[in-house]
């Protein structure tokens, strides 16, 4: 081997060892710098993507839009009457709660954010949102979406943040099967591509009374996710020799993840 090549190889090996032994803090710092540099392009790309999508949708569905508008107007009328009834029920519910002396009731403050990029990586189910440190978002905070739990924040920069979706194997959530004492850890399924995403619920009792259709909610244990947030619905249960496991259909539509809500503060009222 030539001396120069040998020197390059030694330098390379030294570099690899240095990088592999970096502390978690240094890695996060590097990632923050990277995201700070790349974020203008992310936003630009997202705006371009949104504009192109809107234009295509407009062209494709211009005729449908008129019909849809008519049906929406009718639906709106119906909903207004239902809303009136719901408000009455809400007031009644509030009165009943007070009567039952619910001393504590948790409320969640959220920060709305738009998903500007989906899956920028091959193996990790991640998304990038358009809010970051400036909006008060930090790492390891739960993210909600219409339907229930969507994931948690991973890396945060000033104006963007990266979130791990619930469908990723690394996003583990402590959950309970509603109506049963069964608790376990739910996470994404590896090697599950091109199909509707599903979740794997592990560490259940080996002969748990779990049926398809049962709701799965967060327990609030573990310090990341608040309790009683809907995660999904049980699709199947597989009893095992030591412990059982179930497959869960997520309650959030991950294919159409547009707006998410990052939990800002969990306050006790």
């Amino acid at each position: 081997m030539k001396p120069l090549n040998l020197l390059a190889l030694l330098l390379f090996l030294w570099g690899v060892i240095w990088v592999l032994t970096l502390s978690e803090r240094s890695v996060r710092k590097i990632q923050q710098v990277y995201y700070a540099m790349i974020s203008p392009f992310l936003k630009g790309g997202s705006e371009l993507e949104v504009a192109a999508r809107k234009f295509l949708e407009e062209v494709e569905h211009s005729e449908d839009l008129e019909n849809r508008l008519k049906s929406i107007e009718m639906e709106f009328g119906k909903l207004r009457s239902i809303e009136g009834r719901l408000r009455e029920l809400e007031r009644e519910n509030s009165e009943l709660r007070n009567a039952l002396e619910f001393e504590k009731r948790s409320s969640i403050e959220v920060i709305a954010a738009r998903v500007i990029k989906r899956q920028p990586s091959t193996w990790w189910e991640t998304a990038i949102i358009n809010r970051g440190e400036r909006a008060g978002i930090g790492p390891q905070i739960a993210v909600l979406a219409p339907g229930g739990l969507a994931g948690k924040i991973d890396t945060v920069d000033k104006d963007v943040a990266s979130m791990i979706l619930l469908t990723d194997e690394r996003c583990q959530v402590s959950v309970q099967v509603a109506g049963t004492p069964e608790v376990g850890i739910v996470h994404g399924v590896r090697g599950h591509y091109g199909r509707k995403p599903e979740l794997r619920l592990r560490h259940l009792s080996r002969e748990a009374a779990i049926r398809p259709g049962m709701k799965v909610v967060t327990t609030g244990k573990g310090g990341i996710f608040p309790e009683n947030i809907l995660v999904g619905t049980v699709k199947s249960y597989i009893p095992g020799p030591v412990e059982g496991e179930a497959y869960v259909e997520p309650s959030v539509n991950f294919r159409d993840l547009g707006v998410v809500f990052v939990i800002a503060k969990e306050a006790e009222k």
Binding site: L7, V16, V19, L20, V27, G45, Q140, G223
Partner: protein
């Protein structure tokens, strides 16, 4: 000559930006075009071992800066083994291995058979993704190889490979612009050959 190497580094940074605009094709098992690995693999056949290793380091470093997930966090009693994942920097090793793989066909490349390199870039991408997946599997446990996984890797390799002529064209332009002679020196001494682009 050094300017050619600097331009390759600039090309890698541009590839990192372009990568942000590369969508996942849901109908093709969420396959995507991997611009950064492709730029590296194509560049690897045009330079010597030393610069190739430096480029592998830069590519792997930037790749991991974008992709590596942070610690799971939360209570370790509840989330047991949640933090077991690949370490920041593992991609550098993978890039270097793929770089050596590509350099193995450098003699063909210098004979002007760049299309062999283009085809091999697809093979290298397939190997890269498969090895990366196996690595993740080894760390996390649970050996899972599904048809969907193999199709995802295959489609990603194919889609990426189709873009390689464009990258080679850009490399030839850069080589001409900076008067760089693509030469084969390999790891052994005594054998040299030159080709001008």
């Amino acid at each position: 000559m050094i300017w050619y190497h600097v331009s390759l580094l600039a090309m890698v940074i541009v590839a990192c930006v372009v990568q942000q605009f590369s969508p996942a094709f849901v109908s093709l098992y969420e396959a995507r075009i991997l611009v950064v690995p492709l730029v590296f693999l194509c560049s690897a056949v045009t330079i010597n071992v030393g610069p190739m290793l430096m480029l592998a380091f830069a590519c792997g470093f930037l790749w991991d800066a974008q992709h590596i997930l942070g610690p799971h966090g939360g209570n370790a009693d509840v989330y047991v083994n949640a933090n077991e994942d690949v370490r920041f920097g593992y991609s550098i090793i993978l890039y270097a291995l793929m770089g050596f793989f590509m350099q193995g066909i450098q003699p063909l490349f210098r004979e002007g058979k760049w299309h062999v390199s283009a085809l091999l870039s697809g093979v290298a991408i397939f190997l890269y993704l498969f090895v990366e997946y196996m690595f993740i599997t080894f760390i996390r446990g649970d050996f899972v190889v599904t048809r969907a996984l193999l199709l995802k890797i295959s489609f990603t390799s194919l889609l990426t490979m189709f873009l390689s002529p464009l990258v080679f064209w850009a490399l030839f332009r850069l080589a001409r612009l900076f008067h760089h002679t693509i030469r084969y020196e390999g790891l052994k001494t005594g054998r040299r050959a030159f080709v001008d682009y």
